[in-house]
Structures are given as C-alpha cells and as structure tokens.
C-alpha cells in the first residue's frame, strides 16, 4: 500500500461548510500549510441552507442585551446538559465572531440606524427568562447561511487557502500510539486514493440527517466524520439527541425557517386553532423546538391534524402581508411555491416535524480538541484530532439546540479550533509517522467495496436504514420499538458488510461515494439507536413514552457511546462557567 501518493499539511480540515471554512481561514491567515478537503465544492455544503440567522447578543435590536441572557437561554434550551463553560465561551465570544463576519462582508439585513437586523427566535428571553421575548437572531433576510458560507469561502480565497474540492475522506489514519496523523482520501474526479499526512486533522463534516427517511438535511449529510471517528474507535457523545424541526414542508422535508414564527407567523391545526397557546402559554410558537415539535405530533395523534390523512399542521403567514414576506422571508416564499405549491401570502404552508440537527457528535473541549475517556472515566485528549460544527459535541446544545445557535457554534468553535491549532503548531507538534499497516487498516473498507463481487445494492439498504430510524427513533420513542430497531440495525450492519458496488470505475464515481457514505450512515444510526435505547428518561429532544420525565438523579449527564463494545457510558456535564454563576437545573417551561 506504500504506493499511495502522499500529501503533507500542517492541518487538514475535512469539510468545507461554515465550521471548516472558519477554522481554515484562521489557519490560512497564520500562514500554516492548511488544506480544506471537501466532498463538494465548499459553497454546496449544507451551511448554505441555513435560513433564519445567527443568534448572538450583539445588542442591536436591544441595546441592553446581554450575552449572559443568551447563555441562560442556551443552557435552558439544552435541558441542562449543555456544558456551561462551553455555552459561556460561545455566547461571550459570539459578538466578536459575528462582527468579524460583518467585516468580512457578510450582507446582513439592517435596522434604520445601520446596525445588523435581529429577529426573535424560539427560546429567546431577556433577563434570564424574566424579561419576555428577545430578538437576538442576526439575519441576512432568510438566507443567512448562504450569505455566511459564501462570505467565508470568499475570505478563504482572499487568504489563499488550499482547497481539495470534490475529494472524499475515507478514514482516519492512526499511528502506533493511537494519535490521529492524517486520513485516507479519494479525489472523486480521478478516483485516485491519497494518504494525507497532517499534524492536526479537523473533522468539520457536519450532520447526518440522512439517517432518517424524512429530513431537512442535504443529501450529502451522511455523518462522514462521525463514521470515521467511530471506526477509529473513538466515543460519541449524546447521539440520541436529534432535533426535529417543527416546520419541514410536508412531503418534501425542506426547511421553513423558525424566522417565520419570529416574524409573527404561527401554527394552526385543522380547526384553525393556534394550538401552541395551550402547550406554551407564554412563548407560544416560539417555545423550544423540541416543545413545538412534540406539540405538533400531539395534535396530529389526537386527530386535529390537517389534510386528508390528518398527518400535518399548517403554518400561517398570510397575515404578515406580501411586503414583509418579500422583504424578510423571500426564500420561504420561493420554497413554498416550489415544494408545497402554496403561496404563503395567500394560504398556509403544510408542515410537519422533520429531522433537522444532530446535537450529539464527537466530544470536544472549547478548543475543538477531541476527547475520549481513559479506563478510569477521566477525559483524555485524542492527539491530532479536532472537531467543530455539527460534527462536534462541545456541548453547547445539550439535549436541544436553540434556533440560530448552530451558525454561531460554527463560527465560534471553527475559529477557536483554528486559533488553538495555530498555537499548538507554533509550539511544535511531532507524532510518530503512520506505519504501512496503519495506512492499510485505514484502507480496509475502501478495499472491501472495491473487491465486492455480488450482494445487495446501496440504495435499497440505505432506504431500509432510513426506514428503521424513522419508525423506531423519531419524535417519540419507546423501549420495545427501539429494541426492535436496534436488532434490525444489527442485522442491517451484517448485510451492509456484504453489500455490492457494481460500478468500480474511477472517473467521478458517485456510486462509490454513496457506498462509502452508507457505512457512515450505519455507524451514526447504530450509535443513535443504542444511546436512545439506553437513556431511560425524557430530556430535550429525547422523548420517551415509557419514561416521560426528566431524571436528573441518573441522567443529568452526557451519554458516551463506545463503538467497540457498543455500550453506553456517561460523562459529567460541566456546571462551572468561569465568569457567571452556574445555572442550576430547573423545570423547563415556556
């Protein structure tokens, strides 16, 4: 296998979305030999689909806004298993990161005084919940993710970042000491497989919503980084925590931003009733996403759903008027016309809770350093491995992410990882080179697919996996059904291990990429399933019929999934922010 060509970098960033590009920018500015390796041209990454905005206390809509209030909302929104030191870091560093984006050219919408426009989003409050609804989400119309991703890509061009576009990372390469020293990657255009050597490997591969049949996620969101880390034997944190966004367009799954409700839209059932008033009397439609999604499912289950089959509800926007819709939500008008055949200025949009975001992921500290546990259950840094963005679990989102916090997470922790790696490189990092057998073991599954001669094909196996996840690990969960799901997944894993890749050509072979992605979906799905089955309580996005209450005695903890044993462990949540008092767990109401 030593005939592989190798490339060497100080840092390789896998993933060209918001987090990856922000980390790359920091490193490119420092002059380190950095490359971004992305399976799509960077502006095709899923960050581009983010709509509503980036939540941050920049004190524009309200000059008295305070990042501590944002931090409180974030911790409460996460149902108290967000790490408070991480939330503190994100919310306090946030304004700096947002202003930097503006200085880079991000075309934010504006208030009359020239400052960045901020809109209300779910779960936002003033004065630690006592001051009513806040408006804290900075927006570029309803195309904030697009504007942010393009701005970051543009600034990487400005700083001459090296891009390996349309390259696919196959697996991590570990040396004899277990340090991560690079990856195996494939140039999709030519099919060439290359050994990428690097002192720092950053997984910024985003989410994995494609484990579900119905998702707002792009087709590329297959959890490649999670899969790679799991195969390398590293643990995953809080993988049972999947956010179902209240407003995915019924049938199509495409996202309709929470900003619609921020701008004054609301949900109605078949009787035209604004039902969120019953479930969340104060915040109503702007309660936490988990709360709204559950309420919608309750409405549907109790027979008040809309449509022939009563299997969705409506998002009403027509009362906002054509002008507000055109100015603040132009992308939504476009999307609903295309995917729901509905003009929101005249009719409500049919919506249903749809898989949207993975709160869990690779456990990291605030510097993006990936973490595992030693034999005594203590945190241990994984040398050479970093993660940021949705692939990482810092954890700032805990059991439920607030709207607008994902974009902030990307830029704050992408930036933090970049800064930390720069410092570490300056101090000098030397790890043992990978041996030939180390490289070979990272090539194993690639070789497996390339040598496959017969068996089931990728599309049908993928469909089956998505069906299992949808049916057994959706908005509401329950022991027996999940046990069935876990068993089905174990069987599916056997079948995927014997599946067939018929097309073995080299030039832009998308079938091979989809086969490699299927392995990753399988890893993510199983981690999710086992974590969901084992967390015997309801918290945030994880709702169980059989354990309907939050159990702070046993589960005020992160879950930690260990792939080798397929067992779930626990990890302590951080309750020690540096500059503010701890937010003690309280009953979560909106």
């Amino acid at each position: 296998m030593s005939n592989l060509r190798s490339l060497s970098f100080d840092a390789i960033i896998i993933g060209g979305g918001g987090a990856g590009l922000r980390a790359a920018l920091e490193l490119a500015k420092s002059g380190k030999k950095t490359a971004v390796l992305s399976k799509v041209f960077p502006t095709r990454s899923h960050t581009v689909s983010a709509q509503g905005g980036i939540t941050c206390a920049i004190a524009s809509a309200d000059p008295n806004d305070d990042w501590r209030w944002h931090m409180y909302d974030t911790v409460k929104g996460g149902d108290y298993i967000a790490d408070q030191d991480a939330a503190e870091y994100m919310c306090s560093e946030g304004p700096k990161a947002v202003f930097e984006l503006e200085h880079m050219g991000l075309p934010f919408s504006r208030f009359d005084n020239g400052r960045i426009y901020q809109r209300p989003f779910g779960g936002q409050s003033k004065d630690f919940g006592a001051g009513g609804q806040a408006a804290r989400t900075c927006a570029a119309a309803d195309r904030t993710g697009h504007a942010l991703l393009h701005t970051l890509y543009q600034n990487n061009l400005k700083n001459n970042t090296t891009f390996l576009n349309e390259w696919y990372a196959v697996d991590l390469v570990k040396n004899a000491n277990g340090d991560v020293v690079g990856c195996i990657a494939m140039d999709i255009e030519t099919g060439e497989v290359v050994h990428v050597k690097s002192k720092a490997t950053v997984l910024a591969t985003g989410g994995a919503g494609r484990i579900y049949a119905s998702t707002t996620n792009a087709l590329i969101n297959t959890g490649d980084g999670i899969g790679m880390a799991l195969r390398a034997g590293f643990p995953m944190q809080d993988m049972e925590m999947w956010q179902f966004h209240p407003t995915g367009i019924y049938g199509a799954g495409t996202l309709v931003t929470e900003g619609c409700r921020g701008e004054g839209g609301y949900l109605i059932n078949k009787d035209g009733e604004r039902f969120m008033e019953r479930y969340a009397p104060n915040a109503k439609d702007l309660a936490g996403r988990d709360v709204v999604a559950r309420s919608m499912v309750m409405e549907i289950l109790e027979g008040r759903g809309c449509g022939e089959n009563g299997d969705h509800v409506f998002l009403k926007l027509d009362h906002l008027g054509e002008e507000v819709l055109g100015k603040r939500l132009p992308g939504i008008v476009e999307l609903s016309k295309t995917f729901a055949h509905v003009d929101p200025a005249k009719e409500p949009i049919p919506v249903v809770p749809t898989c949207h975001y993975m709160m869990g992921g690779i456990p990291t500290n605030v510097h993006g350093q990936a973490i595992m546990q030693d034999a005594d259950g203590n945190d241990q840094i994984i040398n050479g491995l970093f993660a940021c963005g949705e692939a990482a679990c810092v954890s700032v989102h805990g059991a439920n992410r607030l709207g607008g916090n994902s974009l902030l997470d990307l830029v704050v922790f992408g930036r933090a990882a970049g800064m930390f790696i720069e410092g570490a490189l300056n101090e000098g990092i030397e790890y043992l080179d990978a041996s030939e057998s180390d490289v070979e073991s990272a090539m194993k599954r690639m070789t497996r697919w390339n040598e496959s001669e017969g068996g089931e094909t990728v599309p049908e196996l993928k469909r089956e996996l998505q069906g299992i996840m949808q049916n057994s690990f959706g908005v509401f969960r329950e022991e027996e059904n999940m046990q069935k799901g876990v068993k089905q997944l174990a069987e599916l894993r056997e079948r995927i291990a014997k599946a067939h890749l018929p097309d073995k050509s080299n030039a832009f072979n998308t079938a091979r990429v989809e086969a490699l992605e299927l392995d990753n979906l399988m890893e993510v799905a199983e981690a999710t399933a086992i974590a969901a089955l084992e967390r015997k309580e309801s918290r945030g996005a994880h709702s169980r019929y059989d354990y309907p209450d939050r159990d702070d005695v046993n589960w005020l903890k992160h879950s930690l999934y260990f792939p080798a044993e397929k067992k779930l462990g626990k990890r302590d949540v951080n309750f020690a922010p540096k500059t503010v008092d701890t937010f003690e767990p309280k009953v979560r109401t909106y």
């Binding site: 200085h103 050219g105 697009h146 543009q154 495409t254 999307l335 599309p459 050509s505």
Partner: protein, 234 residues
C-alpha cells in the same frame, strides 16, 4: 412512463459521448427532475451527476433540460417535459468529466478573478460597520447567486471566450462588491474590467436572465458596471 434521453460519457469506457434512453415510471406524479435522476441511478448505478441540498440553494445540479439550463432539484417535470420526453445534457460549453458532471474550473477561475471579497483597509470598528437599509437594499438581487453556472454556460460570449470574458455569474458578483457601500476597492475593481473582453464581450443576449434559477438579472448588473466605468473614465 416518462421517456428520458440522457447524455452519457465515461472517459474510461466510452470513446465518444452518446445519448441513452431510459423509461422511468413516475406514476404520473409531477416530481422534480432530480427525483427522476435518482430513479435512473437505481436502474444504472454508474450514472453520474452532482447534487447536494435538493432545494435550489447549493447550486450543484445545474444541467440542461430539454434545451434550457436550470436546477434539476427545483424543476418539476410539468415545467420541462415536452411530448412526454425529457432530454438531459450537461451544462453546455464546459468540458465533460463524466455524464452530467462538467469541469467547472474555468467558471470558478472567472469568479476568483473579480476578487469576490469585500476590500476595506480602514480599521474596523469594535462593532459592525454601519450600513443604511437603503445601501443594503442595493445588494439584493446580487448576493443571492449560488454559483450554479446556469447563466454563464448559456451565454454564447462565455462559450467563445471562457478564458477572457468573466461571464454573467462573475460579473454579477463583481457588481455585488462594486455596489457595496462598505467596499473601498471600486477604482481597482473597475481598472481590471475595462479591457474589451472582461465585461464588454457581453452582447446583451440575456440568456443569463432567462435561465437564472434564482431570478437574478446579470445583464442589468453588467449595464451598471458599464455605467460605472463610463462615469469613471469620461
């Protein structure tokens, strides 16, 4: 049954490209062209095309459908199918890598050439740079570009001179920065554009406007650049 005729070319096995016929059972539903491609890929695993967001914001799946460029993911069959037939080809004018996948190198090169980033050497304030809503409105219809290349690859001027004419997509972005009240490099940007090719090879054919899946108007932006050049040099 939908009759689909699709451009096929695999450099490893085909000496020349050819059109392949597919029968796709859409069950009479008005699905998107991208859904049809997924169904075809299940019939023939080797079929290559790009796709990502499947909602018209990432710009991956620009292609030529019954003679018109557009995004497969937001083009319903009812909009393109003629006489029960759908003809799919790669974006015209760029080298084909495989099937519907084209080499976008020249397109990106032209984008990079216009220095697509804000330039402002004045030290930034501690908060954001202020911008009035009126100034911000000037960026509407410009910043929304998704770099799908539908416009540039439908432009005859870009077909003939893809190495010299910036093309509608690049020029739209060029004007996005020229129009930004926060950008200070107007003079330098204009100096780069005044040759006979970069901007002036636009002949006002307006194919770009006709095909833009985001409803943007590069021709108007090009006119504005010309106005700025004229105002600057006379």
């Amino acid at each position: 049954m939908l009759q689909v005729s699709i451009y096929r070319y695999n450099p490893e096995t085909d000496s020349a490209p050819y059109m392949q016929e597919f029968q796709v059972d859409t069950q009479g539903r008005d699905i998107m062209v991208l859904d049809v491609l997924h169904m075809m890929k299940e019939q023939d695993n080797g079929l290559a095309y790009r796709r990502s967001c499947r909602e018209g914001v990432c710009g991956s799946d620009g292609m030529n459908m019954n003679g018109k460029n557009g995004l497969a993911c937001i083009t319903p069959l009812s909009e393109v199918v003629k006489n029960g037939k759908l003809v799919l080809r790669p974006l015209p004018g760029l080298p084909v890598i495989r099937d519907l996948v084209v080499d976008m190198g020249l397109f990106y090169k032209q984008y990079e050439r216009i220095q697509p980033y804000l330039q402002n050497d004045t030290p930034a304030p501690a908060i954001e740079r202020l911008q009035s809503p009126e100034d911000r409105d000037k960026l509407d219809g410009l910043y929304e570009c998704i770099l799908c290349a539908c416009c540039s690859t439908s432009c005859p001027s870009f077909w003939w001179n893809p190495d010299k004419f910036v093309g509608p997509a690049g020029l739209l972005q060029s004007y996005r920065f020229l129009a930004d009240s926060r950008d200070e490099a107007t003079r330098e940007r204009l100096a780069e554009l005044e040759d006979p090719f970069s901007v002036f090879r636009c002949r006002g054919i307006m194919n770009c406007v006709a095909v833009c899946p985001k409803g943007l108007n590069p021709t108007r932006a090009i006119g504005k650049i010309r106005e700025m050049l004229l105002a600057n040099a006379t």
